[in-house]
């Protein structure tokens, strides 16, 4: 029995896990709660008649922190349906509309297909249609084989809190959590809007005047009544001692951030920069380069703004999960490209960095189910700003530098493939970027060791995450030493930069999502494996093609 750190992730006591053993609530029960919602929801699309903007920045406490209602709604709908808007009666409803309606006028929603079940095997096992992705609460709550699976999962968890679920059980448990979340919403239990003078906020009572007014406003689609309800709610919130209330500045900043989507605009601007660089050639090249600079700087500024908001809201460095680290690496890649470009003015750095940044940011923007973008409180083991900032920022910046080398190496190899000869200068740029990566990775690994030594005792324990970081470093060292030994030149270095980056992918993504063991368990997740594997295979194919082309034309590509 050797006690390992990962038990300290503390996640076993998140309410989400506690809810798995839920019992389907008799439907009559929550109907009863909703009976005072006298009039049935006439039709979801007519919700559009109301303006919810003023609800969006009302603070709510959820998951260990206080956040704007907008964020709560986005996150909750994402958890329920896997997206932040919902199609109903040919209209698109935004998260705030859906969640507010679920909360205030739940009747009818239990028949609406909005709960995501995307695991085909699970659908097959519990006898659901394979085609649709969404099912209604009623369908799922009445499904006996699903209920049986959920009981099995609960029993397994009761026997062993850390029981590893098989993929099918995991999928069932996810659906179970969605059902519990739905119940929490329609009963209003999880809509904890009221400061109580203690750590935990509470939900509004069934006869709360603000709640009744909001309901009236929503049912009658009366903006004035609805706004009066919001005003009453704000006043009720304001009664409690300020110490227990949300920080209004943080709520304002987070609402701003949530509405703005800075990282989405950033990739759009980077895309514009890439288009300028590639299309404006010849006489326009000078203008294209200028325009690209402007667009990249704009995107970069938006990323800075996004990070400033996240850091202000969370109070920590923005690299605590996969989503944040991907966005951060895109940022770092652009940062290094801008620095090098300012020195060398050669286009290659921008050309290399832009695709990397765009791909990373699009992934982060479009895969919210795999890359969780919400701000969670940190597990205790990470809750140390100094070490978190120095170690994780250094490591991820090294990944960013390597991503830049990947981009530059692609340009060089691409040139070889199309039969032109990369200049020695290009290889020198590649070498410069490699240096930054190697230095930062070495420092990052060592800082990790020092952090581990300081806070847990041991410096190095062959934990998969640290081992793969070391493997990546060794890989890049092989690339550099081989060049010194004269085993290969610039071309070999470019090939090596692409190959060694695969070990970065492994250290960054693979350990958390493929191996799934070790102490860095707080970053574990699942999903995206085919994409990652596809990436690696495409890269290997690309390298192989370049090598073949180079062999055929040794005279041309020789450096």
């Amino acid at each position: 029995m050797i006690f390992k750190k990962d038990r300290f992730d503390g996640r076993e006591s998140l309410p989400v896990l506690g809810r798995i053993g839920w019992k389907p609530m008799p439907r009559a029960a929550f109907r009863a709660i909703a009976t005072f919602a006298l009039i049935l929801l006439a039709g979801a699309s007519s919700l559009h008649a109301l303006d919810f903007t003023r609800l969006e920045d009302i603070p709510i406490q959820e998951n260990g922190r206080k956040k704007p209602f907008l964020v709560f709604a986005d996150e909750t709908l994402l958890a329920l349906s896997g997206k932040t808007s919902l199609k109903a009666d040919a209209a698109t409803l935004h998260s705030v509309e859906v969640i507010t309606s679920l909360w205030l006028t739940p009747t009818g929603w239990e028949k609406h297909p909005l709960i995501l079940v995307n695991n085909k095997e699970l659908k097959n096992k519990i006898g659901l249609d394979a085609a649709p992705k969404y099912f209604s609460y009623d369908d799922l709550a009445a499904n006996e084989s699903l209920q049986k699976m959920l009981q099995e999962v609960a029993a397994a968890r009761a026997r062993n809190r850390k029981a590893k679920l098989n993929p099918l059980q995991k999928a069932a448990s996810d659906v179970g959590m969605r059902l519990a979340l739905f119940e929490g919403l329609v009963t209003g239990r999880i809509v904890t809007l009221l400061p109580t003078g203690a750590a935990a906020w509470s939900s509004l009572g069934a006869d709360d005047p603000a709640l009744l007014t909001l309901q009236k406003g929503l049912i009658r689609r009366d903006q004035a009544v609805f706004d009066a309800g919001l005003e009453a709610l704000r006043q009720e919130q304001g009664k409690e001692d300020p110490h227990f209330q949300a920080d209004p500045q943080k709520i304002a900043v987070e609402t701003f951030y949530q509405r703005l989507h800075p990282f989405r605009w950033a990739w759009i601007l980077y895309l514009a920069a890439g288009v300028c660089l590639l299309t404006m050639a010849g006489r326009l090249a000078w203008w294209g380069y200028r325009a690209a600079w402007m667009f990249v700087l704009g995107g970069f500024a938006l990323q800075v703004l996004g990070f400033v908001c996240r850091v202000f809201v969370s109070g920590r460095a923005p690299v605590t999960n996969m989503y944040e680290s991907i966005v951060w690496v895109a940022f770092g890649t652009i940062l290094f490209a801008l620095i090098f470009e300012a020195i060398h003015r050669c286009r290659y750095f921008l050309l290399g960095a832009i695709p990397v940044a765009i791909v990373s940011l699009i992934l982060a923007d479009t895969q919210p189910m795999i890359l969780d973008r919400s701000i969670h409180p940190l597990v205790p083991v990470l809750a140390d700003n100094f070490w978190l900032t120095t170690h994780v920022l250094t490591i991820t910046l090294s990944y960013a530098a390597f991503a830049l080398t990947l981009g530059v190496a692609h340009i060089a190899l691409g040139k070889v493939i199309i039969g032109s000869k990369p200049s020695p200068a290009l290889y020198n740029y590649l070498y410069r970027a490699l240096q930054v990566g190697v230095l930062l990775l070495a420092i990052g690994i060592i800082l990790g060791g020092v952090w581990a030594n300081y806070s847990w005792g041991r410096f190095w324990d062959w934990d998969p995450k640290e081992t793969w970081a070391l493997i990546a470093l060794l890989g890049y060292l092989v690339v550099l030493h081989g060049r010194i030994a004269g085993k290969w030149g610039g071309f070999g270095m470019a090939v090596g930069a692409v190959l060694a980056f695969q070990s970065v992918v492994m250290a960054w993504y693979g350990v958390n999502f493929v191996l799934g063991v070790g102490l860095h368990s707080y970053g574990f997740g699942s999903g995206g494996f085919p994409v990652a594997l596809g990436f690696v295979l495409v890269e290997l194919g690309f390298v192989a093609l370049a090598v073949v082309r180079k062999r055929r034309k040794p005279a041309l590509a020789a450096v």
């Binding site: 029995m1 062993n160 070495a442 030594n453 793969w468 493997i471 060794l474 191996l515 799934g516």
Partner: protein
């Protein structure tokens, strides 16, 4: 470092000396880039394989075959030689070599530090509870076998990790018992030993009941045989949440008994303390030969009695009443009951009961059973109040009112013993930890081999062969530290509105055994407590560090701290600094050459 035009005379000199001297040739060979590339590549590949092995098997496999395998250490040794030799090949060093030398020596220093830490340091853990007296032993992360040699009575210890290369009947491990011609043969291993308890009819036993407990929701079934020893009740614990007792007759309802504590005190081992409420804090010591009993307490002076004079007679000690209920000169568990092997005080033990008036017993839910003709009568209590009672015959079932648990009377015997046998259970699920153990037998010349028996980790077992007995223990090594450790307080703050811990804060008191000086320190997440914790100790690593490792959500007065003693700490720091500075110098501080 590539050779540029300006360094041709130097390159010539280096080439010349290789021609002249064999020593230089060897140095250049050892420091060659080819060797470096091979080393870097093989270490990287080996590590990659190890991580996959860890993912598909477990950490121990990866460590046994790669990370902690002898060949890997040899390889790292070769790496050090290569790193050192390559710096010599550049001799005499120039200004531009500073970064290069510092980096390479940094790696060597770091690896040296790691070796020092591995050789002279140790890692372990200790579980502290607010209610418990100070401890001075911690559990090291190393499993060992402990053997008591019959020749000199001394304890012998050897590292024994059977979970990797499992002993089998074909490949047994043979352990000679020091000082004797006996041998212990270990020929099977199990990760998950289970104790099977059975009720057996016996002339010497008291009434017995076999209770079968079932929960549909938990999908679990537990067999619980109970048998009284004469009129002595038999009490079993139910997951620490409730207790089940078989006694001659049902107790009066709502009886609030004074809290009592029992201590099984050994002359040579740590006592086993069981308490219904707070621990009394009274320490009972038994002399080596079992003749004297010493009582010491938190607020009373210690007193020593002759054991023979106080056996079975109550003593007042401070506010408590202490009674030595039983004595065994050569203690042994036989058929699940304490007994003595001989009248020679080889392993003296006493059973002490301490009554504490004024403190009432904490009331866990309790199921009391009493034999009643062909069946039993039962009574269920919570907080001293009876909420169910009745009569049950063999085959009857009744609900316990603890979640959905239900009890069934499987068997009733008028005279029975509970016989417990240890045997391998089904392989434990991935991620679950069973009790490991191995099968062993004792061989001595001139005797047929003894019956094999299963040795459970964390327990002491006796192997007997004819007249010869060898006592052995298996489990994680206990190490004494030069100070006493006591948990004063443990806090688990939570994130607002949730049960998610935001930190773990243990306040620990250290008492230096030499000087008696006491120091209070806190261990938080990311902020370990250290002892002695002085500046010099922190710098050199001659320091015991305690960091949070595990907590018990059911008992917030308990925490497990990881313990680390690492004299290689300073070397690791210096090495780390050297690597970082060296690389930076190599890349960015090159003197401008023409």
């Amino acid at each position: 470092m590539s050779v540029s035009q300006a360094t041709i005379p130097r390159a010539k000199m280096i080439a010349e000396r290789q021609k002249r001297s064999v020593a230089w040739r060897i140095i250049h060979l050892l420091g060659s880039l080819q060797l470096a590339l091979i080393l870097l590549a093989t270490i990287a590949v080996a590590c990659a394989m190890a991580t996959f092995a860890e993912s598909s098997f477990n950490t121990k496999v990866a460590q046994a075959y790669i990370y902690k395998a002898p060949w890997f250490f040899v390889w790292l040794g070769v790496l050090c030689v290569n790193l050192f030799a390559v710096t010599l090949t550049r001799w005499p060093w120039q200004k531009k070599h500073v970064g290069f030398v510092v980096t390479h020596y940094g790696i060597i220093t770091l690896l040296l530090g790691a070796m020092v830490g591995l050789q002279f340091g140790f890692e372990g853990h200790v579980t502290l509870n607010k209610k418990n007296p100070p401890v001075r032993q911690v559990t090291a992360n190393r499993s060992i076998i402990q053997v008591e040699s019959p020749a000199d009575g001394a304890l012998y210890v050897m590292p024994f990790d059977a979970s990797i290369a499992r002993p089998t009947e074909k490949h047994p491990r043979i352990l000679p018992v020091p000082g004797t011609s006996f041998r212990i043969i270990v020929d099977a291993f199990s990760d998950n030993l289970v104790k099977e308890q059975k009720l057996a009819s016996s002339q010497t036993g008291g009434p017995g009941v076999h209770l079968r407990l079932k929960s549909e929701r938990m999908n679990q079934r537990i067999d619980m045989p109970l048998a009284m020893n004469g009129k002595t009740p038999h009490e079993e614990d139910f997951f620490g949440l409730a207790s089940i007792i078989l006694q001659p007759s049902l107790p009066q309802a709502a009886q609030s008994a004074a809290a009592s504590e029992t201590q099984m005190v050994f002359a040579r081992f740590a006592p086993v303390v069981q308490s219904e409420s707070e621990i009394s804090g009274i320490r009972v010591l038994l002399s080596e030969d079992g003749s004297q009993v010493t009582l010491s307490g938190p607020d009373s002076a210690s007193v020593t009695y002759r054991r023979s004079e106080i056996l079975k007679s109550p003593l007042t000690y401070g506010p408590a009443v202490v009674m030595v209920e039983d004595y065994w000169p050569d203690f042994e568990m036989r058929e699940g009951r304490p007994s003595t092997k001989s009248q020679v005080p080889n392993n003296p033990a006493i059973l002490v009961r301490i009554q504490m008036p004024g403190k009432t017993a904490k009331s866990k839910p309790r199921l009391t059973l009493a034999p009643d003709g062909a069946g039993i009568t039962y009574q269920l209590e919570r907080n001293g109040a009876v909420y169910a009672s009745g009569h049950a015959k063999v085959g009857d079932k009744f609900s316990l009112g603890w979640a959905d648990w239900e009890a069934e009377i499987a068997e009733c015997l008028p005279q029975a013993l509970v016989i417990s046998t240890t045997k391998p259970g089904p392989p434990s699920e991935k991620g679950e930890q069973g009790i490991p153990g191995f099968r062993a037998r004792l061989e001595s010349p001139g005797n047929p081999p003894s019956e094999p028996s299963w040795v459970e980790s964390g327990n002491i077992s006796s192997l007997t062969n004819g007249q010869n007995t060898v006592r052995m223990g298996y489990g994680l090594e206990l190490r004494s530290v030069p100070f006493l450790l006591r948990l004063l307080n443990f806090e688990v703050p939570r994130y607002e509105g949730t049960e998610t811990p935001s930190n773990f804060i243990a306040t620990v008191e250290f008492e230096d055994l030499k000087t008696g000086a006491k120091k209070v320190r806190t261990a938080k997440m990311n902020h370990p407590a250290s002892f002695p914790g002085t500046f010099a100790a922190n710098i050199t690593g001659i320091n015991y560090k305690f960091s949070q490792a595990e907590w018990n959500p059911r008992d917030l007065g308990e925490t497990t701290l990881q313990v680390l003693y690492d004299p290689g700490w300073l070397l690791k720091w210096i090495g780390s600094l050297g690597i970082c500075l060296g690389i930076a110098m190599m890349f960015y501080l090159k003197p401008k050459s023409q």
